[in-house]
Amino acid sequence: MGKVFAATLIVIALASAMPIILHTWEPPADISTHGRLIDEQMSETMAEAGVAFLAAQLILAWLVWRFSNRPKNEKIQHFPGGARGLVAAAVIVVGIEVMALGIFGAKAWAAIYFTPPSANALPIQAQAGQFAFYFRYPGADGKFGPIHPEMVNEGNLNFFGLDTTHDADSKDDIVTAELAVPVNREIHLLMHSKDVGHSFFIRELRIQQDFVPGLDLAVHFTATKPGKYEILCTQLCGLGHYNMKAYLKVMSQSDFDNWLKQKAALQ
């Protein structure tokens, strides 16, 4: 029975590793300037984790194969070096390896979160609410008008609670249900939630950030490839959570200018 266990474990370990080695399921290709660091870190971590996984499972299988149900007259043997060697290996080899992974891997995080957006980044406001995203562009004046929560009214299409009658800055603000951005231009996305917690996840853009009610958060990114990409809510927000999505449209600067003009005309 010990040998059956060992054989089963070997099959499981190899079968588990196979889709990884064959790249059967992969995230979609990166379209951001920062994503390369994340992808590289992912590959390095996968290599280390994969080696550790296979080594541990195969060694476990071999030991069970070799040492299960031995004849009564055989003697117990001791692992050469005893516990001391194993503890040292755990601390020195695995410990240093994993800590190094974390310390060097932090540069990918730092590249995104420790650097401020550049001065000419395009500010766009994103609002999450049950169960839709809305986006606001500041218009020609470059300023977002103030938000009046008491004026939020989806029935009147006043998603952000803007007072266009009294607030001069709000008059030229452009509100949309999709996020269009010019390619290769840094975007400074200013995020807030209208009601409960939500999240903003674009796989291709290697961005995931929660919307936290009561907090104004921001992310910045540069999309490098024109196209249409899914924006998902990944923070459980209620019964319509699975259907809460919008699209990111990455377009050339001239297409973006035209798009913005069209949207401005609809306001």
Binding site: I38, T45, N69, V98, M99, G102, G129, D210
Partner: protein, 594 residues
């Protein structure tokens, strides 16, 4: 300090009435069985909920027979509504985490065996112990009651993130009464666990029999003691958090709700609360909770393996210190659940490094287990198979922690099925394997009868292969970008992943059905199993020195005296190959006799 003299114990008279003996019993063994029974009932409820969810995920339009009878509002025509999917998911997580993974490994096995293994006649506070179970049982009833209120159970997940969980019915079905019941249930549950931990900690420190030094305690006792220490601080934080959440519902407070929230076009009458406060309080409990589930399994697996390897581990102390290190680190890492929550990005690094550091004590333990297998005379039985399965699952589930501990990778993996696969393997499946190993190992002691080994092995094979078939693919889905907590995958991106979901569902149904073999074995063996000898596995610790099942006060009024370290195997010259902890003969004299 407790009087440790061998004659100090008084012979207590066992209760005679049915109610005092089996219902409101103060006997730690009955309480242990009650906790185990509660976990058993809960795990089958939780499993059926997961079946329903899995069927719905694989075939979203399928009518599940009987659903409309069980859940009138939730499943018109037998097809789950989106909200009911989330409600079942919330209850699945709540029932499994709290009422299975917290109760069985610590309160179930620990209550039964800790006093026996330290050489005590009972827990130091038997009435508190009884109260602990009944309070926990009350919490379970309150949680289950959420199914029967008009809007059903809450839909905010077992993590109950505010303000979704704090706003009331306006935030969704079940977010009113159902969510309040949830928070009340968990607050009560915390009280039950806190009462239990007092007993575990004081029994370990103060009830040890003569000769039972701390380093002579079996690894199970160390594991339960460490787990109780974690529980004491973790539940002490979760309880006030849940009370504040209830107040936000019923007293108009705003602990977790900031101002200016607009739900359904209504400005909410709250101001000044903090959304992140809930997350901090919850995960301050939530991450240690993982270790509350898994550390007892580490102890049980060590105990079972040592007995079946016929040798002590390469290092007893390395396992103890590793468990202590894990318990200590568990409080410094909880922020890794919140990397993308808007917390200060510098704190992510501060939480990331201790999380990665947990790899070190975990690796030490795995290497000690594996290194001890080398040269051993491993006996293969159902208990040892589950213990070996635990090591495999713990490695598989733990290694994916490399990824999730890194904030930059969490950007891609957070809230995906990768996380679901990770915590199910390392927390749920590994802990369950510990529970199964403990069950097959100690069943003869508890009932006086053996479990059927053939059925046990069939159960093991289905469960071992099945668990991998279910939870490995979760990782692949997550890496491809399949997000979690969705009731259907309707978009172009996730639709191609549906065959994987179907495979997982079929594996889950088969693996779940195989648990009925376990249930049958458990019930059948209890009444009709082969009679068990006192020490069927040739163990050395104190539970094997008393009859099966143990008498009311464990040691028949005479506390044992311990002369040896817990795992004296591989002793040449001994009658078999081992010396019991309470055997007065010195090891040298046993060796010399040859």
């Amino acid at each position: 300090m407790h009087d440790k003299s061998a004659h100090a114990a008084r012979h207590r008279v066992p209760p005679t009435g049915f109610i005092r003996k089996y219902i409101f019993s103060t006997d730690h063994k009955v309480i242990g069985e009650q906790y185990y029974g509660l976990a058993l009932a809960a795990v089958f409820i939780g499993m059926v909920l997961s079946w329903i969810m899995r069927i719905h995920l694989a075939w979203p339009a399928a009518a599940i027979p009987g659903m409309q009878l069980l859940f009138k509002n939730g499943a018109p025509g037998g097809v789950l509504t989106p909200e009911y999917y989330l409600q079942l998911m919330t209850m699945h997580g709540t029932i499994m985490v709290f009422f299975v993974l917290t109760t069985a490994p610590l309160a179930g096995f620990g209550n039964y065996f800790l006093p026996i293994q330290v050489g005590a006649e009972d827990m130091p506070f038997p009435r508190l112990n009884m109260l602990s179970f009944w309070v926990t049982f009350g919490a379970f009833l309150v949680a289950i009651a959420a199914f029967f209120v008009p809007q059903g159970p809450p839909l905010s997940g077992w993590t109950a993130y505010a303000p979704l969980s704090a706003l009331g019915e306006v935030a969704g079905p079940g977010q009113g009464t159902g969510q309040v019941l949830w928070a009340v249930s968990i607050a009560i549950f915390c009280v039950g666990q806190l009462l239990g931990t007092l007993n575990f900690i004081s029994a370990t420190l103060d009830m040890r029999c003569q000769g039972m030094g701390l380093m002579r305690l079996p690894l199970t006792v160390w594991a339960w003691f460490i787990t109780a220490c974690i529980s004491l601080t973790a539940f002490a934080v979760l309880m006030p958090a849940c009370i504040l959440l209830v107040l936000d519902h019923v007293a108009g407070t705003s602990f977790f709700v900031p101002s200016n929230l607009v739900v359904n076009d209504q400005l909410q009458p709250h101001a000044g609360g903090s959304t992140l406060l809930w997350q901090h309080l919850f995960w301050f409990f939530g991450h240690p909770e993982v270790y509350i589930a898994i550390v007892p399994a580490m102890g049980i697996v060590s105990h079972v393996l040592i007995t079946n390897m016929r040798r002590p581990l390469l290092s007893h102390k390395a396992i103890i210190y590793s468990m202590v290190a894990i318990a200590f680190l568990s409080y410094m890492v909880y922020g890794h659940h919140m990397f993308v929550s808007g917390m200060n990005p510098y704190s992510s690094i501060a939480f990331s490094l201790p999380t990665l550091a947990i790899t070190i004590p975990s690796t030490i333990m795995v290497l000690i287990w594996i290194g001890s297998l080398y040269g051993s005379k491993l006996r293969i039985n159902t208990a040892s198979l589950f213990a070996l399965g635990f090591i495999s699952m713990f490695v598989s589930g733990g290694i994916t922690g490399f990824f999730l501990a890194q904030p930059s990778l969490d950007i891609m993996l957070h809230a995906t099925y990768f996380v679901v696969g990770h915590f199910h393997l390392v927390m749920a499946v590994a802990a369950l394997f510990g529970i199964f190993a403990g069950t097959y190992f100690w069943f003869p002691k508890v009932t006086g009868r053996m479990m059927n080994e053939t059925l046990g092995k069939v159960h093991f094979w289905f469960t071992f292969v099945g668990a991998y078939c279910i939870f490995m693919p979760f990782h692949y889905l997550g890496m491809a970008g399949n997000v979690r907590r969705y009731q259907a995958f309707v978009d172009d991106f996730m639709a191609p992943l549906m065959p994987v979901h179907k495979f997982i569902t079929i594996a889950a149904l088969i693996t779940g059905a195989a648990q009925l073999i376990f249930l049958y074995n458990l019930i059948h063996s209890r009444f009709w199993g082969e009679l068990a000898p006192q020490n069927p596995w040739e163990g050395t610790s104190l539970e094997w020195s008393i009859p099966s099942p143990p008498p009311f006060d464990n040691f028949a009024g005479k506390l044992p005296v311990v002369y040896h370290d817990p795992y004296q195997y591989d002793i040449e010259g001994a009658t078999n190959d081992y010396v019991m902890q309470d055997s007065p003969a010195s090891i040298n004299s046993v060796r010399g006799e040859k």
